[in-house]
């Protein structure tokens, strides 16, 4: 490998988090983004074709060295590495709403899930998976939430576009055909929303 690839390898190794191309370019004043990309390609090929236990993965808007999944069971069994704790169903559902509707306020999340969301939102914020991205213009100027790069990292995604498209889901969200309402229903729907 060339010296830039070596430097990048050392940097990725020591960072233990995804590094962006910009961060990697900062390593050497004489390099630039396209050279960094070429070096990353060389590094990825080296790990892919040199039969290694680790590989270069692109996720969360950056690049990271990670162990190959096939070795996870043995590493865990020997109690050398520990897998992260799983998210609860409530957390996953709330993350799903935020990922697809961001920026989104608490009221909308609660409307979709049908349950109070304040505790779950706090937990997700503490884990760094969501953050406040602004305030709504609505009454009371409620906080709006969005997902963080750590959310992408958790799912191993490069960016939000890697989430499944609505039309790829087995249940399509069909709009209920709007028919003229009688007064009763209109009042009901209003009370409902």
């Amino acid at each position: 490998m060339n010296s830039l690839s070596q430097l990048i390898e050392a940097a990725l190794f020591s960072a233990a988090r995804p590094l962006t191309v910009e961060e990697l370019a900062d390593l050497d004043p004489d390099t630039n983004g396209s050279e960094v990309r070429a070096a990353l390609d060389q590094l990825r090929e080296h790990y892919d074709f040199g039969s290694h236990g680790i590989e270069l993965v692109e996720m969360g808007g950056g690049f990271q060295l990670l162990t190959r999944p096939v070795f996870a069971a043995a590493i865990e069994r020997a109690q050398i590495g520990v897998r992260g704790s799983k998210l609860s169903g409530a957390m996953l559902e709330t993350l799903a709403v935020i990922a697809y509707r961001q920026p989104v306020g608490r009221a909308e999340i609660e409307e979709i899930r049908g349950v109070n969301a304040s505790g779950v939102l706090r937990s997700l914020q503490e884990r760094g998976l969501i953050e406040v991205v602004g305030r709504s213009e609505a009454l009371g100027r409620p906080l709006l939430y969005g997902t963080t790069p750590m959310f992408l990292e958790l799912l191993g995604l490069q960016d939000l576009a890697n989430l499944p498209k609505a039309e790829e889901l087995s249940i399509a969200l069909q709009p209920v055909p709007a028919a003229p309402m009688d007064e009763d229903t209109a009042a009901y729907v209003e009370a409902e929303s």
Binding site: R83, L92, I112, V115, V176, P180, D182, Y188
Partner: protein
């Protein structure tokens, strides 16, 4: 399928259902489960039946999310009543009162499916370990901060726009001069025997002055030192010596 991990509903012997409620992440989840267990069509929910089942299930509900389940129960009962109302026979298209509930159920089902997908993605991701060992951070000054005026101004704008009311109330305790007001009232009574109560304030009174006079008047009236009269509705109060004005 999203609901496969939910436990089966055991139909009890007449007393209702036996359900582990921790397994449900909310009333919509429970509702979907009821529909699925009985292979009912979301688009054509037998509201009366489902409302009764829902009520009997949450009857034994733990307290943590009871409010959310009760709210759904209320909606179902309202729908049940609406479904019993006779439909108008004038040929106008009938708006199904269940439409909103159906929309919410479909939307929620979609979220459940995404959540399941995300769970599997996180599962796959967790099979890759990052580097475990991190050396202790070297002894050097913290990295330079990145901050510029633009960022700060944007923050100022955010702060300002977040202020609901710019009026800050300052509540302060201020000593009232009741003794001074009492002396002034005594002097006025000694001089005239009767006066309009606002005369005790002096020129340009502050709220504290008014309150002081009011307290002094009430205290003196309580002691029987004076009498307060209002000759007519909305007329100014008249203060008089108790002895000079026997009570009615």
């Amino acid at each position: 399928m999203t609901l496969s991990e939910a436990p089966p509903l055991a139909l009890g012997n007449g007393s209702g259902f036996v359900v582990e409620l921790e397994s449900f992440s909310g009333p919509l989840d429970l509702l979907l489960h009821l529909l699925r267990e009985q292979q009912l069509d979301i688009a054509d929910i037998p509201i009366a039946k489902i409302a009764d089942q829902f009520l009997s299930v949450i009857h034994d509900l733990g307290l943590n999310q009871a409010a959310d389940y009760l709210e759904m129960a209320g909606r179902l009962l309202r729908l049940k009543v609406q479904m019993l109302l006779p439909r108008r026979g004038d040929g106008e298209e009938w708006e199904d009162p269940r439409a909103e509930l159906v929309r919410r159920l479909l939307e929620y089902q979609q979220i459940r499916e995404i959540a399941l997908w995300m769970e599997q993605a996180a599962e796959r991701r967790s099979l890759r370990f990052p580097r475990g060992y991190l050396p202790p951070p070297p002894d050097r000054p913290p990295p330079p901060l990145t901050l510029d005026v633009i960022d700060l101004l944007a923050a100022v704008e955010r702060v300002i726009s977040g202020i609901l009311s710019p009026v800050l109330h300052r509540v302060v305790a201020r000593p009232l001069d009741v003794e001074g007001a009492t002396r002034r009232i005594e002097a006025l009574l000694a001089e005239r025997g009767e006066f309009i109560w606002t005369e005790a304030f002096g020129p340009a009174p502050t709220i504290a002055d008014v309150l002081s006079v009011l307290l002094a008047l009430l205290e003196m009236a309580r002691r029987g030192a004076l009498l307060i009269r209002q000759p007519a509705p909305f007329a100014p109060l008249v203060v008089a010596l108790e002895l000079a004005q026997p009570a009615d």
